[in-house]
Subunit: 137 residues, 2 copies
DNA sequence: CCGGATCCGCACAGATACTG
DNA sequence: CAGTATCTGTGCGGATCCGG
């Protein structure tokens, strides 16, 4: 999600008072383009950097580095570097990371169940309002 | 999230073959800055445009319009406009939208359970690597 | 093999002013 | 009240080159 842009809500003062505060930082992490894909791949087992890179077509080395580092920083992924030559680095989910991966899987379940309904709704909407075909997204 | 930028994966050919394809378009919607907040607010009941606007501090009229319209387009929110004067527009979740709201609530549960652990992990990481304090996020 | 550093373009958010 | 129209800036993400 290239989500958190200008920090309108630096930390607490914003939309809080509700119970949605907690979910923001999680979605700020899941919202970007690659985090979920990395999590899903790592939920299948330990992966080396290059394995991740190949398993996720389209990601650049830079974005994979940034994504894995953020996940490490949040304690969701553990990084193990062997000082061999050539270098070898392994990534694996931490217990907390695994629990998040399971929660993500629930979301994926919902998606699979309702993606047809959503596609149908979009088709109906686009048929009803053909003017702004490409505008909303 | 300002997530889907350049369409590296126009539709299907990308990371698919896995089972993560389904979750992408859901997260592309949840990932942006406001959608989840709107969903959470609407999960409390029917809301008028201005009520939403006040309930979500920091959102601009434009972003609220775009967010609600996308949700309508996806069949998650229903919009009812009364041609009175002044105009009056009501937004409410559809059944599909409510089921997504429940799933979001699970994510929020996870967030509340683990946010302390994540904060602690970040503190440890930042203490260990003080160099790139602000860089990753 | 893994990652750091740098440059750049573009999509999206925000602000403001205006309309039915 | 509920949007629409337009302009502008920002920061994510991609590409590329370099280093250990």
């Amino acid at each position: 999600m290239s989500v958190a842009h200008t920090e309108v809500t630096p930390q607490a003062p914003g939309p809080c008072g509700d119970e949605d505060c907690g979910i923001r930082d999680v979605l700020d992490r899941l919202g970007d383009k690659w985090t979920v894909l990395v999590m899903v791949e790592l939920s299948k087992g330990v992966r080396r950097f290059r394995e991740l890179h190949r398993a996720i077509p389209g990601i650049s080395q830079r974005m994979l580095t940034l994504t894995t580092r953020r996940l490490c920083r949040d304690g969701l992924v553990e990084r193990t570097a062997y000082p061999t030559i050539p270098p070898q680095v392994e990534y694996r989910l931490t217990p907390v990371g695994r629990s998040l991966a399971e929660t993500i899987e629930r979301l994926a379940d919902w998606s699979r169940e309702h993606k047809d309904a959503m596609a149908a709704a979009r088709e109906r909407w686009d048929a009803a309002y053909p003017g702004e075909a490409s505008e909303p997204r």
